[in-house]
């Protein structure tokens, strides 16, 4: 069932939860069927029929009360034990001296990922090597957000002033979709996550490439766009390595052209969509902190050419 990610785990951390849910689901369904069957039986069997005499009054039976108190208690004791088991599997302990591999910061409304060992910085699209658990430190730059990639395991809140550590791991290659799960304001709906799990070699290649400085355009629309990027104050909020743009408010745009989506999942990353975005971000993602710079058509085209060359 690929469209039900919670039951289609792709991580040793998500597997125990799916298993617990399956067992508990069977228990819950059985109880629901029992109660529903009892109610329907009683309704049918004991409905008022013409000429029936007044029913016998039954004030209760202590034995039955004890039975239906103790039986659920035993069942819950069992559920508790499998809960503890799943807890250890889904959220393994972290030794005190283990340093995080990655710091993920929730922003209104995008994700920033900083790889601590390599200094790679990514936004919204996060790459990890298959089968290697990453320790993630989760932080927030503003309000409470929540990291959730159902196929990879537990949710975790990103709380300002109160970082949380958790493990992130995928056991097979693929793209895993997730989203912010804690309501965080106007554009909470568009704070989506793409985790790309890849082989060691691919991951290393990606990682090394992220540290490369993108080629600087020397002529044409893209060169004009590079100038505009600095003139129009884009650089105040965004970073592009190899240029003077060092802003930290918005996503790092160094390799923007390689991302699959724009604006944390609102649009597919195509030149025409990027033009649409730059002409009026507020029309695409109303409420976002990036203002409408009211650029001319030429300016939008130049900037798009520049940004789409950032590979």
């Amino acid at each position: 069932m690929p469209s039900i990610p919670t039951f289609n785990p792709a991580s040793t951390l998500a597997q125990p939860i799916a298993h617990l849910f399956l067992v508990l689901g069977i228990v819950m369904m059985s109880i629901l069927l029992l109660v529903t069957a009892l109610v329907l039986y009683v309704c049918f069997r004991f409905r008022q029929r013409p000429g029936t005499s007044e029913p016998r009054q039954n004030f209760g039976r202590e034995g039955m009360e004890i039975a239906w108190t103790v039986a659920p208690l035993l069942l819950l004791a069992y559920i508790f034990t499998i809960t503890v088991h799943a807890m250890h599997g889904a959220d393994p302990g972290i030794s005190a001296d283990r340093q995080p591999d990655m710091v993920i910061v929730g922003h209104q409304w995008w994700w920033e990922a900083r790889y601590t060992n390599t200094n790679v910085v990514a936004a919204n699209e996060i790459h990890i090597p298959v089968g290697k658990p990453f320790l993630v430190r989760l932080e927030s730059a503003d309000v409470i957000h929540d990291w959730w990639v159902p196929q990879l395991g537990r949710k975790m809140d990103a709380i300002p002033g109160d970082p949380n550590d958790f493990w992130l791991e995928a056991d097979s290659p693929g793209i895993y979709l997730g989203t912010c799960a804690e309501f965080c304001g106007a554009e909470h709906a568009w704070m989506r996550i793409r985790v790309s799990a890849e082989s060691d070699a691919e991951y290393e290649r990606w990682s090394a490439h992220q540290l490369e400085i993108p080629p600087q355009p020397v002529a044409g629309d893209a060169a004009l766009g590079a100038v505009l990027f600095e003139q129009l104050t884009c650089a105040n909020c965004h970073t592009i390595s190899g240029t003077s743009a060092k802003g930290k408010i918005g996503p790092d745009l160094t390799h923007l052209a390689e991302r699959q989506t724009l604006a944390a999942g609102v649009l597919e990353n195509t030149p025409s969509n990027l033009e649409r975005w730059l002409s009026d971000p507020q029309a695409v993602k109303p409420g976002i902190h990036m203002p409408n710079f009211e650029m001319t058509g030429d300016q939008v085209r130049d900037l798009t050419a520049f940004l789409e060359a950032l590979r």
């Binding site: 016998r56 004030f59 309000v143 949710k155 975790m156």
Partner: protein, 554 residues
Amino acid sequence: MSDAPYIPGTSDVSIVRDIDARSGLLSWLSTVDHKRIGIMYLLLSLVFFAAGGIEALLMRIQLARPNLNFLSPDTFNQIFTMHGTTMIFLVAMPVLTGMANYLVPLMIGANEVAFPRLNALSLWLLAFGGLLLYFSFIAGGAPAAGWFNYAPLSERPYSPTTGVDYYALSLVILGIASIVAAINLIVTISKFRAPGLSIRRLPLYVWMVLVTQVLILLALPALNASLAMLLVDRLLNGNFFVPLGGGSAVLWQHFFWAFGHPEVYIVVLPAFGIISEVIPVFSGKVIFGYEFVAASTVAIAVLSFLVWAHHMFAVGLGHPVDLMFAVGSMLIAVPTGVKIFNWIATMWGGSIRFTTSMLFAVGFLVMFTIGGLSGVSFAAFPIDWQVTDTYYLVAHIHYVLFGGTIFAVFAGLYYWFPKMSGRMLSETLGKWHFWLMLIGFNVTFFDQHFLGLMGMTRRTFTYPDLPGWAVLNLISSIGAIVMGLAVVVFLWNIVASLLHGEIAGDNPWNAWTLEWATSSPPPPDNFKRLPPVRSRRPLWDLSHPDNPDWKYGR
């Protein structure tokens, strides 16, 4: 029982009579009669139910297809915040307080509540608080931080309009109204019971109302205190919940849920009480295991203060804390299950009359069981780590609060409407109402379980067109429209029945508790005389002189 009728109650009942002797709008606005106040509570909650329902329909239109622009993100966020706040504080609480106001004095054989003027105060505070909340729409925007209003999103930098201020002020006022009403009901039940009506003979509805008022008294101050702190933050530059200023964002959650989880039982226990009256009467049998139904209510109330952090499993509080709150949350399923089994045992061997009231009660049994069972899955908290804040949770709360509380309220309204108005509600329209509601409710909410499992989070104004999402959302929206139709049938039923309904008589259902021992509607001072109370079912004893309950010591 002596011949001279002794009816417990307030000594200044003459005021009640004088005012009610007049007619017209002023007599309603100035009334201190608990019955009129109760009816006005019900009417107010009906108005807000309509408002909250329209908000729900607006959301379902926006979510019917992916990437719609029917509502802007900010408008959607205001609407869902107002929907939740309205349904909890302006519908569920007042409809239950209103019913308690009307019924408790009648069910315990009193002529009034203990403090009639205070009673009027809590009603008008409710009306004022509700208007204040809705005034925010025209004062610059409604609150848009969700009904539990997490900090720091609810702080001024992230919620710069006055919406959250209106939210906080309005809820403080509603909190005071609830506490006033709780004190009133506790004193009334403690002091004004008819001779012979010992605490062990109280109707179960009154039992559960009593326990609920204790919960209100203990839980609401936590909310009011944290709202005051939030207002200090927002208006006086305080830092209680502002991490940058040394405050704590998580603190708000602890405070809010220390109120918020007892709150769930504040709006569920009286519903249990209604079911505990309706099922026995329409089964023709005394409640099975009275003591266990009452004692399990107390157990739920105690446990309800020990489970708040199960709303916070994703906060990262650590395994020991998670485990502790998981134990409490699982335990609470036991007394709840005890009730379900006792209700079914009451029906067992009975002679069941399927009135609309009973249909809603039976619907409640199954719908509430679904909500209760999905609740256990949250207590097994690794599951909560996956499904909290998704549509699975939206489905869960609606199975508890709509399939539970609101179904029970409908059961209660069909049951007691004849007492309140003197006329029967139409059973034909009632059955339309029930079946449309049952089908519409399940079509709307059952599929939301799957949406949650498929990864759809709550509180998003739209969603990407991922496989299966669009069709399930469309089905859910169609269900919501069916529910809307059911409510229209209900409103039509009320109006038509008030005008042309069959005359009810004192005791149309052959019920057994004291409210059926007076005329329908009751006179301003409730009773001309009270029957002797020698058991839990005084009217049963009267009609069964050869087989009264008191023979069995009940």
